[in-house]
């Protein structure tokens, strides 16, 4: 009896409350569904598939190198490492769904590392040289700091010779463990995103089921937040922090992947990834369908300009942070990213009515 009375009262109180912000127009609903479908089909699934492929290659090349460690095998492993990181940079902006399970994003790339956890954990692991700790079961439960790309980068940074010493065999075993871990995580992402009963299915069911998306607009909100988050991370964390306020206070070692010299290529891959989300994930099409061609053109042109600015820095990012000429170019890129964040976060969000609200988007 009490339960029945309770649900009746709750239902009544909800009925009395005016509908939040009125009913959304049908064309907005159509946009939401179209963006969700295009993003999953054209952007997320192909890119996770590519990540899984580069992950499998990385694990295979690590096995091959450790079985027969010569310079050519090392070169192949190093290339596979770079390909995987660039592949990751093109899809890491997706910050919802299976990537959030089991600390996967942190395990792939623990960064930034302001407390040098990677260095400390790596030194300890190499000193312990405990092979049993590298079993998949134990390794996935070890510190996230040594499970992914930044730790692998440090191991590879010493080159083929780094694997020659007395500790070389364990060092190689650790390299293999990380490579295999990355391959496993990226394969799991594909499995968990599968359209039959995975996350792609939850997205397709948005607005109807009991999954994480009770309303269709929440999918484009997640996608837009992912896009904005990556722009902000590039501008502030990956470029802003190493830049410092003056050439004297520049700290190039705060840059991502400075040891492998991959920083600039990663930045380019990251911007290219969010450009793909915008262009092929349904945002561009939704703007044009709604008669917002001018805005769509501005965003498209801006993406092209930023990509060109990145490709014409003319020196490694590590050097650019400390050079007057390089800093100017990086500041231009940062200004472009800021403009892009404003266009996407305000103009596009308003035009497509996917504003997630002040507190829900950035509460504390």
């Amino acid at each position: 009896m009490i339960r029945i009375a309770a649900s009746a009262a709750i239902a009544l109180s909800m009925a009395f409350f005016p509908q939040p912000d009125g009913a959304r127009a049908q064309d907005a609903e159509t946009n939401y569904t179209a963006i969700a479908a295009a993003s999953v089909t054209n952007h997320i699934l192909p890119r996770y598939k590519h990540l899984a492929e580069t992950g499998a290659t990385l694990a295979g090349d690590a096995d091959a190198y450790c079985a027969d460690p010569d310079a050519a095998a090392f070169f192949a492993l190093d290339r596979a490492f770079r390909d995987f990181w660039l592949s990751w940079a093109g899809i890491r902006h997706i910050q919802f769904g299976p990537i959030t399970y089991l600390d996967r994003a942190y395990r792939i790339q623990f960064w930034p590392d302001t407390r040098n956890k990677i260095g400390k954990q790596l030194s300890r692991t190499l000193a312990d040289a405990d092979s049993a700790a590298l079993s998949p079961e134990r390794f996935t439960a070890t510190s996230v700091a040594i499970q992914g790309l930044p730790a692998l980068e440090r191991l590879l940074a010493e080159g083929h010779d780094g694997y020659a010493g007395a500790n070389g065999a364990f060092r190689c075993a650790l390299t293999r463990a990380i490579a295999r871990n990355l391959a496993t995580i990226s394969a799991e992402l594909i499995t968990n995103w599968n359209p039959n009963d995975g996350y792609a299915h939850l997205i397709a069911e948005a607005g109807t089921g009991t999954g994480p998306y009770s309303e269709t607009y929440q999918v484009p909100v997640d996608l837009l937040q992912s896009l904005l988050g990556e722009i902000e991370a590039n501008r502030d964390t990956r470029l802003g922090h190493p830049l410092g306020s003056t050439v004297e206070t520049a700290r190039p070692k705060l840059a991502e992947a400075w040891r492998s010299g991959l920083s600039r290529e990663i930045l380019a891959a990251s911007v290219s990834g969010i450009e793909d989300l915008y262009l092929n994930g349904g945002f561009d099409a939704a703007l044009r369908t709604g008669g917002e061609d001018a805005l769509a053109d501005r965003i498209k042109v801006l993406f092209t300009r930023i990509a060109k600015d990145i490709s014409t820095i003319g020196m490694p990012l590590y050097d650019a942070f400390g050079s007057t000429e390089g800093r100017e170019k990086l500041q231009t890129i940062r200004a472009g990213l800021k403009e892009l964040a404003a266009l996407a976060g305000t103009d596009l969000a308003v035009a497509l009515d996917i504003s997630p609200g002040f507190n829900s988007r950035d509460g504390d």
């Binding site: 339960r3 309770a6 409350f17 919802f96 959030t100 407390r115 939850l202 507190n359 509460g363």
Partner: protein, 375 residues
């Protein structure tokens, strides 16, 4: 001990919701003053004083985004804190809306956004990050001496976000959210994989550790973020889950005066639709009711205390701030779309709605505080 409740939430008594056109305090002569940080449509940040009648009594520009407001015990001064990792706080005369003091965090510290006064009003306590040591601290300020830094205590955890002084003023509860951040990395979370939030009680007279409550290990990513204390010394806390979006952890919990901790797990609220995010919690003047906001799931809730029965779950877009005063059962909710709503829980378990207001051009931020403007 943490107990998990499995029974269905329900009301103790039946009854329809009443709808009143007038604000709760209209005509009573003691129109309450609501104070909240807000973003204006031009993107600037302000501290706003307004009434339930829709009047704006002051608008004070802020140098950055603000977070929570705390009232002095005499009700004359409001201290407003910067949102993390901000470094400013300001003291405002609420009768006139004039700025009395503007204070910066000490070197090597930033604020987390919440503060509390000692019962005599002489000291202010602030939650802070000693970021180079990755250590949470409680800053102590002498209010009688221009908010001079008077010392600091350990918060006994990482990321102390909110604090509340229990009635009597000898015990302080601290929500150590558990998330490590460093200003060099903005708001980036640096330790999600091994975070361990806690709710710590210290002696508010000398900072001595009393005891700590931790969540079961499977909930270690449930950041204990916001607190409010009731007249009997119980504490309601709100959590923000850092794990997978498909999880549906409890987001509100309660610690009774006897130390019993209960996670409120009404099934309607154990859903991924709330997106693991509780923005604020509050206990009413009677201590019998609590409220919580879930802006990512577009819901507001009222609970009965201490049993954690869900009394109300309404759909409201982007609501975060909750304000209470001595009025039993009364809660004011603010939203990021400039709305102000009132819900009043009656002793029989019914929920009454009072008139809603909209303040055009203002997005109310995370927290709202209610003061008596005529003190």
């Amino acid at each position: 001990m943490i107990t998990r409740r499995n029974f269905l939430a329900g009301l103790a008594a039946s009854g329809a919701t009443a709808l009143f056109a007038k604000p709760l305090t209209a005509g009573s002569g003691d129109d309450g003053l609501l104070i909240s940080a807000a973003r204006r449509s031009d993107g600037s940040f302000v501290l706003v004083g307004c009434t339930e009648n829709g009047e704006i009594t002051f608008e004070l520009p802020l140098p950055g985004r603000g977070h929570a407001t705390t009232l002095s015990p005499d009700g004359k001064t409001a201290v407003h804190m910067a949102r993390r990792p901000g470094r400013f706080m300001l003291a405002v005369d609420i009768a006139t809306g004039t700025l009395r003091e503007f204070v910066n965090a000490p070197e090597g510290r930033h604020f987390y956004g919440h503060a509390g006064f000692s019962p005599d009003g002489k000291l202010l306590f602030t939650t802070e990050n000693d970021f180079d040591r990755g250590r949470g601290v409680i800053g102590i300020w002498d209010c009688r001496d221009g908010y001079r830094r008077a010392g600091e205590w350990d918060s006994f955890g990482i990321g102390p976000h909110d604090l509340t002084l229990l009635p009597g003023g000898t015990v302080m509860a601290i929500a150590n959210g558990g998330i490590l951040t460093h200003p060099d990395s903005g708001r980036a979370k640096l330790n999600i994989a091994d975070m361990k939030p806690n709710l710590t009680f210290v002696d508010a007279r000398d900072g001595t550790f009393i005891r700590r409550i931790e969540l079961p290990s499977e909930l270690h990513k449930n950041s204990i973020r916001h607190l409010d204390s009731g007249p009997d010394g119980s504490v309601l806390f709100g959590m923000q889950y850092q794990g997978a979006k498909t999880d549906a952890p409890p987001l509100v919990g309660h610690v009774g005066p006897d130390g019993t901790c209960t996670l409120f797990d009404a099934p309607e609220t154990l859903t991924p639709q709330l997106q693991g995010y509780c923005a604020d919690v509050a206990i009413d003047g009677s201590g019998r009711f609590g409220a919580s906001t879930f802006p990512r799931g577009d819901r507001i809730a009222i609970w009965s205390i201490p049993d954690g029965k869900l009394m109300m779950l309404n759909t409201v877009r982007d609501s975060a701030g909750i304000a209470t005063d001595s009025h039993p059962g009364a809660f004011r909710f603010s939203t990021g779309f400039g709305r102000l709503l009132t819900r009043v829980a009656g002793p029989d378990g019914t929920i009454a709605e009072h008139g809603a207001r909209r303040f055009a051009g203002l997005a109310f931020d995370n927290h709202m505080t209610l003061a008596d403007r005529h003190i």
